[in-house]
Symmetry: C2
Subunit: 212 residues, 2 copies
């Protein structure tokens, strides 16, 4: 087993991880964060970054994600029919950029060098990235035309969890968590935004620019 794979996840972290209701689990990515996609096949684990992921449906819970043909992670997804989407945090920005730019084909030590610690979830033979804010374990719904023509994969969520310090009771609580827990939203060229201020629509006033 690779030295970076910690099967006994730090107990302090573990006690904050709780299951998310499957029917609410797409909310983990409703706000459009950049995600980490991980997969396992034949004793190989890989993790990549993906800015192009989206919820697709609540019931059954489904998501889409774009996986380039170049990526080793994609090959593991195609072979295993499973993947994990995790929501990385500002504290994981360097890690997110590293797994998004390093290749496991070129560097077998990619994950260790990128600062990735993996852990297990009972009942799922999948690699989960420690320190993330949320995790969606997914089964690929095979759509060969979408996969071949568009690099577009559809997954059904078969397990979901969050770190309750930032997502609990079916809702994000970024505004009450440390800023290092905020989700990442990638643009290009190493440039990220963190998710920001929260608003409830009932508190807003009239439409803006259009009326001004």
């Amino acid at each position: 087993m690779d030295p970076h794979v910690a099967t006994n996840i730090d107990k302090n972290m573990n006690r904050y991880i709780a299951a998310v209701e499957l029917e609410k689990s797409p909310r983990l990515i409703n706000h459009g964060p950049t995600v980490l996609v991980s997969a396992r096949h034949g004793g190989v684990d890989d993790v990549m970054a993906a800015a192009w992921a989206s919820a697709l449906n609540y019931d059954p819970p489904r998501v889409t994600v774009v996986l380039d043909k170049d990526n080793r992670t994609r090959e593991l997804v195609e072979r295993s029919g499973r993947f994990v989407i995790q929501v990385p945090t500002v504290a994981q920005m360097q890690l997110t950029h590293a797994v998004g730019t390093r290749s496991l084909r070129a560097d077998p030590a990619k994950l260790a060098k990128s600062g990735v610690t993996l852990f297990d979830m009972d009942g799922h033979d999948l690699p989960f990235v420690a320190g993330s804010a949320g995790w969606l374990a997914c089964r690929v719904i095979p759509e060969p035309h979408n996969q071949d023509r568009y690099d577009l994969f559809i997954g059904e969520v078969i397990g979901a969890w969050s770190d309750t310090r930032v997502f609990r009771d079916g809702h994000w609580h970024f505004e009450r968590a440390d800023p290092s827990w905020r989700s990442l939203h990638y643009i290009a060229g190493g440039h990220f935004y963190a998710i920001g201020e929260s608003f409830d629509v009932s508190e807003t006033t009239t439409p803006g620019h259009a009326a001004s």
Copy 2:
């Protein structure tokens, strides 16, 4: 013509709108904003909100968006084969929520009541929502299986523009614009986040929670 359709857009707004290179245009939604989807067919215009939109490809520029079967906008998209994705701002939060909850079928005055002002772009017979931060005019790439089974539409970007006060030279400049220009990221129950702080990955330190 509907009274809310302003063909002569406010000159002060118009001078800030500039074309975006098509190959960079998916960057307008890379960071996962909630978008407004608009469409026109047979003299009818409608606008809806969609949290589930994503970039799909840069060259050719393509995007995905999930359009519920309930929506009149979807019907207009299917009939015309065209739609606009626009990136609304914090100043348009009430408008975004209003077009996302009101139905044109139930209320023919939906757009006016929601505070929507539409304008034209030369060469495109499509309704554009004034006051947004960016616009992607799209042609539907027909994929009947995706549309029927998943409510998933794929569009090729055939025109792109931004308000240069917040997106110019192929990049967002939220950090240098008024906070009312920030993009919206919807969760559920009327709860939005605005995009927040900007980071360059070179400025960050070691990976966070996983290592702490």
